[in-house]
């Protein structure tokens, strides 16, 4: 007998005493918890996002769409970056105000090559205010998972308020489970040594989140 048959057989025997229940799953589980904590309007939700991002040591910036290229240029310059990873579908305008060398996100690049790049600039799929989380889903403005992992400096642009949701349940609703997803809440951190928090063990040590709003922006507001 294969291990598969053996295990499934054991499961069935183990459950022999359990009364069968074939009510559909949606009805089997009562969900009396809330969809979001509090009832904030869009603006205050964005404010909460900014606060919670900062609380977990992300650097938060706010600007209008017109100011974005300038701000990104400044962030890369302040950091002293000479190279920046660029996802294939990133709005070219975002990098219009910087002459830092662009490195395309290529399947063929080796981890070592990525390790030599200073910064990465991406969009995101959705951001969660209550937890201070940005979620990447590998969309064209975000690229492969590893480009936001290996470089030490990640600049992530969030369109507000349309890419911001209040809560985890609302974020899950917007995401497509079959895409590779990375949820990021602040930069990499560890508390393994006497529970002292230290930032930046393996992922980017600096996470800068730019909340862009104020001027109506190009289509594609749901970030897919």
């Amino acid at each position: 007998m294969s291990a598969r048959e053996r295990i499934l057989g054991r499961v069935r025997r183990a459950l022999a005493d359990v009364e069968p229940d074939d009510s559909p799953y949606e009805r089997a589980i009562e969900r009396s918890y809330v969809r979001a904590h509090g009832d904030l309007d869009a603006e205050r939700t964005v404010g909460l996002l900014a606060e919670n991002l900062a609380d977990y040591r992300a650097l938060v910036h706010r600007c209008t769409a017109d100011e974005l290229p300038c701000l990104i240029g400044r962030l890369l310059a302040e950091r002293g970056s000479r190279t920046v990873l660029v996802p294939p579908g990133l709005d070219a305008g975002w990098l219009a105000e910087t002459d830092v060398e662009r490195v395309p996100d290529l399947a063929a690049s080796t981890p070592d090559e990525l390790d030599r790049v200073d910064s990465v600039v991406t969009g995101c799929a959705v951001a969660v205010a209550e937890t201070g989380t940005i979620v990447l889903d590998g969309g064209p403005d975000q690229g492969r998972r590893r480009i936001t992992l290996v470089p030490d400096h990640h600049v992530c642009v969030v369109r507000v308020p349309d890419q911001v949701v209040a809560s985890v349940p609302q974020a899950l609703e917007r995401l497509t489970p079959t895409r590779p997803l990375t949820w990021i809440s602040g930069p990499s951190a560890t508390s393994d040594i006497e529970l002292d928090r230290v930032e930046g063990v393996h992922g980017p040590r600096t996470l800068e989140v730019v909340l862009v709003g104020g001027v109506s922006h190009s289509p594609g507001g749901d970030g897919r």
Partner: protein, 491 residues
């Protein structure tokens, strides 16, 4: 049976040694108290905590009740998404499968994300025997591995080590495994973390095979979820060409939506954060993003035996948040190693004897490694009634009765009078001679009255029920503690 630490004394002896270790106790006390306070705050932020906890409990119970169906559905979805599913009835089979998969790649090194399942089956040792080095990449696991040590906490495996000890381990051992520790390394956490980053980066960038566990698997979509803080998980899950995940069969959630419960309760219960820094979710393989080959090894190793016990099966709801460890007065004093298992603390005391059976002395004594104060049940985000299961297991050890071992229904004989009695008496005396445990024990009297009617007939009767444990010493414990410990920690 795999998983028992070799030569491990039964809980009371191990605990006695640990309690005498001042450094260990200091490290532990600091750690558990810090996490405990932070956790309470993080939970208080969420107004619907009780409802989330109840939903979590129900989702897990429902999953367990239909586990066969969800396993088959998961297999189908993972396969459709480009992954390969393997089934392993026990540790040996799982190790064999992983070793063969690594051999197929022709590699002799793998990078690992911290995973309780692979520790449970002793994967690192099994791979080593095949000439494959497995590098732990979680900072705490690295400390444990370099220190040739055992993890002692689910979440913070090196919780028993302080910064000075860690520096010494790094200085002494890093060069053996790869890049040496930098000259003049001090004991500041930031410098230690940086040394680990540089040491491990070398391994990540060249690794061709990654090994992980998973926190959740979604039957509906075939998605796996890994929750972590450092980013080493992301490294292991996305940089290698081949990814092998070894996951206990109980880690399934039926639907994508169910994550909304656990992504809220897990981080707050474990690290006391609103959300942990990184969560990765992947479904099979994705073209040109991440590993080209994905293997999922579904592990039984005693889980179906646990499922067969109508009281004990609730232990399979556990999401390994470690909250129960941090509130346990016995864990706080005895430390994780005393439990002789990769699952320490209250959850270990009910999980290990169920996964492994109670044949060994340590496993037979684990159900007594508790004061039954109930604090573990109160913090548990999936409402596992640990005291209830402990009482059940004590009954089984003492009285015997039907259990399932390796899929077969057998009737356990009552533990041979003296051995079990001795172990239990020692454990009981030990717990009740400790002020924290005693305090808890006193609270227990009123709290767990509902559990008490399970007094046992026959030889177990005198001591199997908690109220029949040896009487609290006549001397008030504060006085006793003052007298014997010179006033240290009398609170």
């Amino acid at each position: 049976m795999s998983g028992t630490f070799v030569g491990m004394p039964a809980f009371p002896e191990a605990a006695r040694a640990a309690v005498g270790d001042q450094t260990l106790r200091g490290n532990l006390r600091h750690a558990t108290h810090t996490i405990r306070a932070k956790r309470a705050k993080a939970v208080a932020e969420v107004s619907d905590w009780d409802q989330l906890r109840e939903a979590g409990k129900r989702i897990k119970d429902h999953t367990l009740r239909h586990l066969d169906r969800y396993l088959v559905q998961l297999e189908e979805r993972v396969t459709a998404a480009g992954g390969t599913v393997h089934w392993a009835a026990d540790a040996e089979e799982a190790n064999r499968i992983v070793a063969a998969l690594v051999a197929e790649t022709g590699e002799s090194e793998v990078v690992k994300v911290k995973s309780m399942a692979t520790q449970e089956i002793g994967l690192n040792e099994a791979l080593e025997a095949e000439g494959v080095h497995a590098y732990e990449t979680d900072l705490a696991e690295l400390i444990v591995q370099l220190g040739k040590d055992r993890p002692s906490h689910i979440l913070v495996p090196a919780i028993h080590r302080n910064r000075g000890e860690i520096r010494d381990i790094f200085r002494r051992e890093m060069s053996e495994w790869g890049r040496p520790a930098p000259e003049g390394l001090t004991d500041t956490p930031a410098e230690l973390a940086e040394a680990a980053r540089v040491h491990l980066r070398e391994k990540f960038l060249r690794a061709k095979v990654g090994v992980s566990g998973a926190n959740f698997m979604i039957a509906e979509t075939g998605t796996l979820v890994v929750v972590e803080s450092e980013g080493n998980g992301r490294m292991c899950l996305t940089l290698p060409e081949t990814l092998i995940s070894v996951v206990g069969i109980e880690k399934i959630l039926p639907t994508w939506r169910d994550l909304e419960v656990f992504l809220q309760t897990l981080p707050r219960s474990s690290t006391a954060e609103r959300m942990n820094p990184y969560t990765s979710m992947w479904t099979g393989t994705t073209d040109e993003d991440g590993p080209r080959a994905f293997h999922l090894v579904l592990l039984d190793n005693g889980r179906t035996d646990t499922l067969a016990d109508e009281v004990g099966r609730q232990a399979l709801r556990c999401i390994r948040c470690s909250a129960c460890l941090n509130v346990c007065p016995v864990y706080e004093r005895a430390g994780g190693h005393a439990y002789g298992s990769v699952y320490p603390g209250p959850i270990g005391a009910i999980l290990s004897p169920q996964l492994r059976g109670t044949a060994s002395e340590i496993d037979a004594s684990l159900p007594y490694a508790s004061s039954l104060c109930g604090a573990c049940y109160e913090v548990c985000p999936v409402a596992i009634d640990i005291p209830e299961v402990l009482v059940r297991l004590r009954e089984r050890v003492v009285e015997g009765g039907p259990v399932v071992r390796d899929g077969n229904r057998v009737v356990l004989r009552p533990a041979k009078g003296h051995a079990a009695e001795r172990a239990a008496m020692r454990a009981a005396r030990w717990a009740f001679a400790r002020p924290g445990a005693l305090r808890a024990g006193q609270r227990l009297a009123s709290r767990t009255r509902g559990l008490h009617p399970r007094t046992l007939p026959g030889p177990g009767r005198a001591w199997s029920a908690t109220r029949d444990l040896p009487a609290v010493p006549a001397e008030p414990f504060r006085d006793w503690w003052q007298r014997t410990h010179g006033g240290e920690e009398a609170k």
